[in-house]
Amino acid sequence: MSEEFKVEIVNPEKSFLVKDDVSEVVVPAFEGEMGILKDHISIISFLKPGIIKILSKSGDENYYVEDGIVEFKNNNLSILTSTIFNLADIDKSKQQDLLKQAEEEANKTDINDQSKYLADQKVEVLKTLN
């Protein structure tokens, strides 16, 4: 029996990625990283800024997301996100740009605690990308 399931990532513009030979996905869920394997219980959760790791036979992939929702049901994992980049596509300058934006956001004083927390997360994750 195969231990693979299907993952689909969509952003508002298009269906970003569809893969059906995935063995494990690690998502940065709001309350901590969460690894999802086949036959996981149906779950809905949302994401904080972080790295999505997709492990599959055809190679591992890493994506950087800023927000999103995950839904897992009947061995279908759907990830809805508005901002996603393939880590392989983020070069030094891109990463610096994102980091600068995130830092600006984090340094704003007129935001509430939750957005502050998310912005801080963003900065932290982006720093580790070096």
């Binding site: 508002p12 513009e13 298009k14 869920a29 309350e31 809905i44 929702i69 809805l80 508005s82």
Partner: protein, 290 residues
């Protein structure tokens, strides 16, 4: 009867108009393909989003305390209408169709003695509505600068709507846009986004979800996003519709111009021939009288 010179000028001017409409049709056709593609690509996201929300709202146990964005404020006194139109004209009935739909809805609301507030997206809608409903328009947004519909713009509109909702400025929100069916058919739509309207969709799956964190928190995070997503979907459908409508309008205009040129050319040739005949008769009768 117009003189030969006048006719010549008219033919020339109709021909140059035809050139313009033809060029506009080509441009619209090229843009349509892109807009249509992105409208189709954008559909999975909004559908998935809808599904998740549906599952969530079915799973929620305490309907009373559900977020207001889902269940409404419990009254229907003030209606907010977001009318989405284009920023450019020359696209056939595109804008007037939305306006017509919106106006009949406005009339209904005002008849019922409810309060009406309007947000117009796109300058053409604002132009058409401000004459009659000028005092009802509270906001006018235009994205002339952005070339294509993008999520960032939609998010701005969405945030504004939510802000107003949380400030208690309205109870019900409806968006008006054209749904793209094909190049010649666009259907004006009125979609209620606050409170969320999912009646008649009782396909609740037996399966229960595990939520992390709990339902309430997810819902309160998800619902604002859904508003932006729905607005974005409307923007994508709208931009595809606009290009489709423009393309068929310009196609018609080009054909009409062609017909007009033909007619004018015949008239021109006739009057030229008439002038020649007249001259000949004059010469001949002059020669005969000698």
């Amino acid at each position: 009867m117009a003189s030969l010179d006048d006719l010549k000028k008219r033919i020339a001017s109709v021909k140059s108009t035809q050139k313009i409409t033809k060029a506009m049709k080509m441009v619209a056709a090229a843009k349509l393909r892109r807009a249509q593609e992105s409208a189709e690509k954008g559909r999975p996201y909004s559908e998935k989003m809808n599904n998740v929300i549906l599952n969530l709202s079915n799973g929620i146990s305490d309907k009373e305390n559900a977020p207001k964005l889902l269940s409404g404020t419990g009254q229907e006194k003030t209606h907010l209408c977001v009318v989405m139109t284009s920023d450019r004209g020359l696209c056939g009935g595109f804008n007037s169709n939305i306006i017509k739909k919106a106006k009949s809805y406005f009339a209904k609301i005002l008849d019922e003695g409810k309060e009406l507030k309007i947000i117009t997206v796109g300058s053409k809608g604002n132009d058409q509505l401000k004459r009659v409903y000028g005092d009802k328009i509270i906001e006018n947004i235009s994205f002339k600068e952005s070339k294509n519909a993008n999520y960032f713009d939609a998010d701005k509109v969405g945030k504004m709507v939510i802000e107003k909702f949380e400030a208690g400025e309205f109870d019900v929100c409806t968006i008006f846009y054209n749904q793209f069916k094909n190049v010649i058919t666009q259907i004006p739509q009125a979609q209620q986004i606050i409170p969320l309207n999912n009646e008649g969709e009782e396909n609740s799956s037996e399966e229960s979800y595990e939520f992390e964190p709990d339902e309430d928190e997810i819902l309160s995070n998800l619902l604002p996003k859904n508003i932006s997503t729905q607005i974005f979907k409307a923007m994508l459908e709208n931009s595809a519709s606009e290009q489709g409508s423009r393309m068929s309008a310009m196609d018609n205009a080009t054909r009409n111009a062609g017909e007009m040129v033909d007619k004018l050319t015949i008239e021109y040739n006739r009057s030229r021939q008439a002038a020649i005949t007249k001259e000949l008769i004059e010469i001949i009768s002059g020669a005969e009288s000698l």
